[in-house]
């Protein structure tokens, strides 16, 4: 495996690790952005250009900014009085380590049966467009409905109610 893949993976995993470890919430959000950028580079390394650029635009350009706005609106950037970890963090760590052990074992056990790379897939934007309105038109329409409902719902949920209602 190439050096670049391991470098990008290391950056991604480091970003993800810092996103769940750091005490200051805004630092966590910025480390999460680094993890997203690393993931987008991994997608680009897998020749999925559309998915990679969509990831940058949606996750770094929208979700990360949303997370940061939410942190600022909920006063998350001030230092908390108690510890930032919940009461029994060990249970969570054990569960996560267990999940990783199971997944890693499954991947390594079936390494012989997994396919190797053959041809270069061509996923031009044109083909993706044809697929979206051809084979996947129903998921596309449902996704449009879902996004509309989610946007309206999020605005209503977070709306500041007028005083004295």
């Amino acid at each position: 495996m190439s050096v670049i893949f391991w470098l990008i993976s290391a950056i991604t995993i480091a970003g993800a690790l810092f996103a769940v470890i750091l005490k200051n919430t805004v630092h966590c959000a910025l480390a999460l952005t680094v993890a997203f950028a690393g993931l987008a580079l991994l997608f680009l390394g897998l020749d999925a250009q559309f998915a990679g650029f969509t990831e940058i635009m949606v996750y770094i350009g929208a979700v990360a900014i949303l997370v940061v706005f939410a942190i600022l609106l909920t006063r998350g950037s001030e230092t908390p009085k108690d510890s930032v970890y919940s009461r029994f963090p060990v249970a969570g760590l054990v569960a996560a380590a267990g999940v990783f052990a199971v997944l890693g074992w499954a991947v390594l056990q079936s390494a012989g049966a997994l396919p190797h790379a053959m041809q270069m897939p061509s996923a031009t934007a044109k083909e993706i467009g044809y697929a979206l309105v051809g084979r996947y038109v129903l998921p596309l329409e449902i996704l449009a409905l879902l996004l509309t409902v989610a946007t309206i719902g999020a605005v209503i949920v977070a709306l500041h109610e007028k005083e004295g209602k």
Binding site: H27, L30, I56, G61, V68, F69, L72, S77
Partner: protein
């Protein structure tokens, strides 16, 4: 002879690559392209600072900088020396790491946008299939750098300026995308080289630039509005308005870091003007078919400098918009009009060649503009003033 002049940079690069062994060639080719971009655009930035100051000065009936060189043209060198030698003050309570990284992230994200602009025939640094998507992805990354700058300064005014700037940039980013989408719909490709080649067709003397179509003109105007808002230029420069917010999100930066923010803002202006001229003004294609002997890169840079001139003109002429006026304008007028423009573009595509589609689309665009303006930008009528006296 003129074909050689047109391709002179490509020929120079091939000549240099000819002296090198085979395995090094792709690497050196990319490095040469990157060095060219990093050398040309900051040089253009230096020239633009002088032109801006002199242009705005002339609009305001005064002379601009005129002491440093002939007509003040060496002023950028003086500015550069000043910003490099100024003391770099970092507030003690600021978040040092993020405070240091914010201008770097901004400049890197803005430089990446230049990689996909076709600056001449065959003169793209990276010819990608999803070039437009890449450009908008890099634009989205620069918003986070603005937030980082504002938050890490631990300053109420910086944070407020950063929040306003980010809200403004996200709102107008959607409009930028939708205006560009109309062009993509007609061309059938996200690749910027294909978009320019589709506009490089001449019927008689006139080129088939997209700005000469009704939906293209509407799209270009919306794109220009969104471009001024994205780069925080007047009349949308409340986030960095000196009279309201000190200097907004770059209050706490001094010396070279401030120069980097300044560089980032102007480079963003260049790349968004370059993208606008690629999408709507035909990129490197000549305006008349008898002028195609002029090299293509001259046309691209002329269009770029024309856009910059219009930006400077707008800055000197128009008053600043308030934040709520800005956001109202974006969400209530420009965004619905851009969506309506997309539908008109679709109608253009399917009405077939002929004079009918011109008439129908022009009427639809004008009607939509007038109706939407009347409906959504209604001014509130205020009642007579009531006075309350302190008793």
């Amino acid at each position: 002879m003129f074909e050689n002049l047109d391709q002179i940079f490509i020929l120079l690069r091939n000549m240099v690559l000819g002296y090198l062994p085979e395995p090094l060639r792709p690497f050196v080719s990319v490095v040469l392209g990157v060095v060219a971009i990093v050398a040309i655009f900051p040089g253009l930035f230096a020239l633009t600072t002088v032109f801006e100051r002199k242009g705005i000065a002339r609009i305001q009936n005064r002379l601009g900088p005129n002491r440093v060189g002939p007509f003040g043209l060496l002023q950028p060198i003086a500015d550069g020396i000043k910003s490099l030698t100024k003391e770099d003050i970092v507030p003690t309570t600021s978040n040092g790491f993020i405070h240091f990284l914010a201008p770097l992230v901004l400049v890197v994200a803005v430089f990446m946008g230049f990689a996909v602009l076709p600056m001449g025939r065959n003169m793209v640094l990276v010819d990608m299939d999803c070039a437009l998507l890449f450009y908008f992805a890099m634009g989205a990354s620069s918003e986070l750098a603005v937030f980082m700058a504002g938050w890490s300064s631990r300053n109420k005014y910086s944070l407020l300026g950063a929040m306003r700037a980010v809200a403004q940039m996200i709102s107008y980013e959607v409009i930028l995308l939708l205006s560009g989408l109309a062009v993509v719909m007609i061309t059938g490709s996200l690749s910027l080289t294909k978009i320019v080649e589709a506009q490089n067709v001449y019927s008689g003397w006139f080129p088939h630039w997209y700005i000469f179509t009704p939906w293209g003109l509407a799209g270009f105007v919306m794109y220009a509005i969104a471009a001024t808002a994205e780069t925080n230029r007047s009349p949308f420069d409340l986030p960095e308005g000196e009279s309201e917010l000190v200097a907004g999100y770059h209050t706490e930066y001094s010396g070279f870091k401030f120069a980097l923010f300044f560089l980032g803002e102007y480079l963003a202006m260049f790349s968004i003007s370059g993208l606008g001229s690629t999408l709507f003004l035909g990129g490197w294609s000549a305006p008349f078919s008898f002028l195609t002997w002029v090299p293509s890169w001259i046309w691209f840079f002329s269009k770029l400098m024309l856009s910059i001139f219009v930006f400077i003109w707008m800055r000197g002429t128009l008053p600043r918009l308030r934040q709520d006026q800005l956001m109202n304008f974006a969400w209530k007028f420009v965004l619905p009009f851009t969506l309506y423009n997309l539908m008109v573009t679709a109608l253009w595509r399917f009405l077939g060649d002929g004079w009918e589609r011109w008439v129908v689309c022009t009427v639809l665009v004008i009607a939509g503009y007038v109706l939407l303006g009347r409906v959504s930008m209604r001014r509130e009528h205020f009642g007579p003033r009531s006075y309350r006296y302190a008793e």
